[in-house]
């Protein structure tokens, strides 16, 4: 798994490429914590190159959602592939993690 972070319109875009499992989940948690600590609590997880997610990856997303909201921000997911969407539905997390078509669109209307 590979993580890259850049900023778009004041939001941190965290792009996750590859498989988001227990191996990489701690690095995603760290990237989110770093962005919040740097004063960017509005975070988009760009999943356009995310090949796979399991419960460890979901745990990192939920942890990130909580920490961004504590900092008056939000965590949103964008460009979600079908393999990820299926796991979100199986866990009912599609109700709490709102999906946006692209990282650029995620904070368009704030």
């Amino acid at each position: 798994m590979n993580i890259t972070v850049h900023t778009v319109n004041g939001a941190a875009v965290v792009a996750v490429a590859g498989r988001l499992t227990a191996t990489g989940a701690p690095r995603l948690r760290q990237a989110v914590e770093d962005a919040v600590a740097a004063g960017t609590p509005r975070i988009v997880i760009d999943m356009s190159d995310t090949e796979f997610i399991d419960s460890s990856g979901l745990g990192a997303l939920i942890g990130g959602l909580k920490s961004t909201r504590l900092a008056d921000g939000d965590l949103r997911i964008a460009a979600v592939p079908e393999a990820v969407r299926r796991v979100l539905k199986l866990t009912n997390l599609d109700r709490v993690l709102r999906e946006y078509p692209s990282a650029e669109a995620a904070f368009d209307g704030q």
Binding site: A22, T23, F52, D54, I62, V87, L90
Partner: protein
């Protein structure tokens, strides 16, 4: 290998998180060798294998340096995985596994594995044996 298996993979190694990457790599090798397995069957079986492998590693990590074996197999009708370890037997009641609430940051793994499989067995004894089976919907 069973006589009717189309392809199989075997992994053996220490109980640490590199095992999770290793089983995913092995699954990708399997799909390359049996490309007719559908995307849905691949994804859901990989999900279950990933969850159980993570669970095995998390239970087995410690001073005992447990060893894990994983056997993955595809036949015309079924996707099968068998994982063994020589760690302490895990105290898990699969009949009590339920999907946790939306706020939970952990505890979804075995619930997802059960949802993705037709059959999941955990056999504690001298270590642990996990048997995972998903009937191929494309078969």
């Amino acid at each position: 290998m069973d006589s009717d298996a189309l392809a199989s993979e075997y992994i053996e190694g220490p109980a640490d998180l590199t095992l999770v990457d290793a089983v995913h790599d092995a699954l990708e090798d399997l799909w390359r060798r049996v490309p007719e397995v559908s995307d849905e069957d691949r994804m859901l079986f990989a999900l279950a294998v990933s969850e159980v492998a993570t669970n095995v590693v998390e239970h087995a990590e410690g001073p005992k340096h447990a060893t894990v074996t994983v056997r993955l197999e595809v036949d015309a009708a079924m996707l099968t995985a068998v994982m063994t370890d020589d760690a302490d037997p895990a105290l898990i009641r699969l009949d009590r596994v339920a999907m946790p609430g939306e706020d939970a940051e952990s505890g979804r793994g075995l619930a997802l594995a059960l949802a993705a499989l037709d059959d999941l067995e955990h056999d504690p004894g001298d270590g642990n044996v996990w048997r995972l089976r998903r009937r191929r919907r494309d078969a």
